[in-house]
């Protein structure tokens, strides 16, 4: 079904592309938000991704690889957003009224804060690997394939990302906050 839509979109059918975009949109936003940690930037990244996907779709050789291909596009859109960073200061863009999310009570506020701060310090490529592995649940070879980088690079990036984030949580453990200590015990 999806392959047929991709074929039609590749041939210039906007309706087919709209169907693909609707089907992929939530996943792309989820990936972009996890990498960027900012809903506004994530939405921008998804918008860029969908437009890039449309314009570049004729160059996709294997229609079966559409999901992996567009996942990679959104990662690159995130990289661009992070590179641009706050250079977009002149843009007057209203932030969303609220951030829809669900909070997991298994994580303490302190842990959430530590992870958030630690994650923002990670380079973009480490963030992407971490999200693909821990959020999308892909194996490391699958992450390598989707991101188009060697397996060794994926392992290395995940290693550094994990160590960095764990260090933040360890530091939290050394604080007198007993509740967060209990969370990790």
């Amino acid at each position: 079904m999806q392959s047929a839509l991709v074929e039609r979109a590749r041939a210039g059918d906007e309706e087919a592309f709209a169907s693909l975009a609707r089907a992929a949109g939530d996943r792309l936003l989820a990936i972009a938000f996890r990498i960027l940690r900012d809903l506004g930037l994530a939405e921008d990244a998804v918008q860029q991704t969908l437009v890039s996907a449309w314009t570049d779709l004729p160059n996709l050789r294997d229609v079966e690889r559409f999901d992996a291909w567009i996942n990679r596009l959104v990662v690159h859109a995130c990289y661009r957003e992070l590179r641009r960073g706050r250079q977009r200061v002149s843009t007057v863009r209203a932030l969303p009224l609220e951030l829809p999310d669900r909070r997991d009570d298994a994580i303490s506020v302190v842990q959430r804060d530590q992870l958030d701060r630690g994650f923002r310090r990670l380079p973009p490529d480490q963030r992407a690997v971490f999200v693909f592995h821990h959020y999308l649940g892909l194996t490391l070879p699958e992450v390598a394939e989707q991101l188009g980088v060697p397996l060794g690079t994926v392992k290395s990036r995940l290693h550094y990302a994990t160590n960095s984030l764990r260090a933040g949580l360890e530091a939290d453990l050394r604080s007198p906050n007993e509740s967060s200590r209990e969370q990790l015990a």
């Binding site: 939405e43 449309w54 932030l95 829809p100 959430r112 969370q183 015990a185």
Partner: protein, 436 residues
């Protein structure tokens, strides 16, 4: 004690699971709107063919080309119709016609050297441009509305008309409605009313990304006219040449356009001696450092020497930054708390419009992600922003003020007082938005 890998996995995955689950229709619609105007890369770009719905001006222009071509008369010193032998090229490689080429010679013959064109500044729509020296112009006398989108004589646009009236150009800007993106607006603009044949939709338009006065734009030909859409902040500027065959004119015209804006990336950072404030200001602006600590008793005076101040090169615009400690009982945790403080400040200043602050205040965020509360408030004589916390001291209110009303002529070159203030705030990690 140390975390085990399993603990870390569990915590990290639970943390990653938090977040938005659904892409908003607003974003999807904007993307599909942009897709609608974009072309897939494998397509060869070319000027769209004119079709049977060609308007009368275009038909007259085409007829003129045929007649001139047959008779071989090319000795006119000025003309309004298509330049014989001119082959329109795609907007994908926009550039002013080169003076060395035959096309440029014909262009100069028809329209003159763009550097000698008449200057035109639109106070209504805040842009300036040039148009051919022997043309006439008519200023917009009303705000443009989308119901007039196919009326090339609309009073809602600035109009530029060739001597014989056979070529028209229009320019205007329009605020993007709330909840819509600039590209969503462009899509609406291009969508015809039911029963109309449509014009920049259904594959007839070829738009390309280009730059107009350094701003990202979408520009191209529809087969009947040439259009450029320039989204800047919450506005879209539109520039149209209502003649399918006048791409060289369109290109040269775009090169004359100036849309004022201000770029905080170019600002010079300033560290206050008096206050814990670091703020950027435009290069070339004069600085007056605060010579004493500001107190609430000065509120009625407006701009005082107790504020660090930045003055534009013409000496017309003054922007001040300062801070004032909170009373011990003051707690700022929300925009409502800021509003309460601003109301007291307003009353201390003896202003008469303190009761309507809530209606006028615009929410801001200190730091995008954390979004500590902040407010931008337009007053009769100024536009001011109030914030604390996050990267700014939590025990005092920081204030940045543009001492001109938002629509004052002196700040129009910066896009208005509010826009100027926001550019200063951007250097302080204060952004448009609403606290979550």
């Amino acid at each position: 004690m140390s975390t085990t890998y399993t603990d870390f996995d569990r915590i990290a995955e639970a943390w990653l699971a938090e977040g938005p689950a659904q892409l908003s229709d607003r974003v999807l619609d904007a993307a599909l709107g942009e897709v609608h105007l974009a072309h897939q890369r494998r397509r060869r770009l070319s000027v769209p063919r004119r079709n049977s719905t060609m308007n009368k001006f275009a038909a007259l222009g085409a007829a003129a080309v045929v007649v001139l071509g047959v008779v071989g008369v090319v000795s006119l010193t000025r003309r309004d119709a298509t330049v014989p032998g001119t082959t329109p090229t795609p907007i994908a490689t926009p550039s002013a016609p080169s003076s060395a080429s035959p096309t440029a010679d014909a262009f100069s013959l028809a329209f003159g050297d763009p550097t000698t064109w008449h200057g035109f500044t639109s106070e209504r729509y805040l842009y300036s441009l040039r148009f051919p020296a022997d043309w006439s112009s008519e200023r917009a006398t009303a705000d443009w509305n989308i119901g007039e989108h196919q009326d090339i004589t609309s009073a809602g646009v600035d109009r530029f008309i060739s001597p014989t009236g056979s070529i028209r150009m229009s320019a205007w800007s329009v605020p993007v409605p709330a909840g819509k993106t600039a590209y969503g607006w462009i899509k609406d603009y291009c969508t015809p009313p039911p029963g109309d044949p449509g014009w920049c939709d259904e594959g007839r338009a070829i738009f390309e990304d280009t730059l107009v006065d350094g701003h990202r734009a979408r520009a191209g030909g529809t087969g009947e006219e040439w259009l450029a859409f320039v989204p800047i902040d919450d506005k879209v500027f539109v520039f149209a040449v209502w003649q399918a065959t006048e791409e060289p004119l369109f290109r040269a015209w775009l090169d004359t356009i100036h849309i004022p804006s201000i770029d905080p990336d170019t600002f010079v950072m300033f560290q206050s001696d008096q206050y814990a404030i670091k703020v950027g200001h435009p290069p070339g602006w004069a600085i007056e450092r605060a010579d004493h600590t500001w107190s609430m008793s000065e509120a009625a005076a407006g701009a005082t020497s107790g504020q660090d101040a930045f003055i534009d090169p013409e000496g017309d615009v003054r922007v001040s930054a300062w801070s004032v400690p909170f009373d011990p009982a003051t707690y700022i945790g929300s925009q409502a708390d800021i509003e309460t403080w601003v109301t007291a400040y307003c009353q201390a200043a003896g202003r008469s419009d303190c009761d309507t602050i809530h209606d006028r205040a615009v929410p801001l965020c200190v730091e995008h992600a954390d979004c500590h509360p902040a407010l931008l408030v337009p007053f009769a004589d100024s536009v001011q922003a109030f914030f604390c916390c996050g990267v700014h001291p939590a025990d005092r209110m920081t204030i940045v003020a543009v001492w001109q009303p938002d629509d004052d002529a002196s700040v129009q070159q910066y896009g208005g007082g509010r826009k100027l203030l926001q550019s200063f705030l951007a250097t302080m990690n204060v952004w448009p938005g609403k606290a979550r």
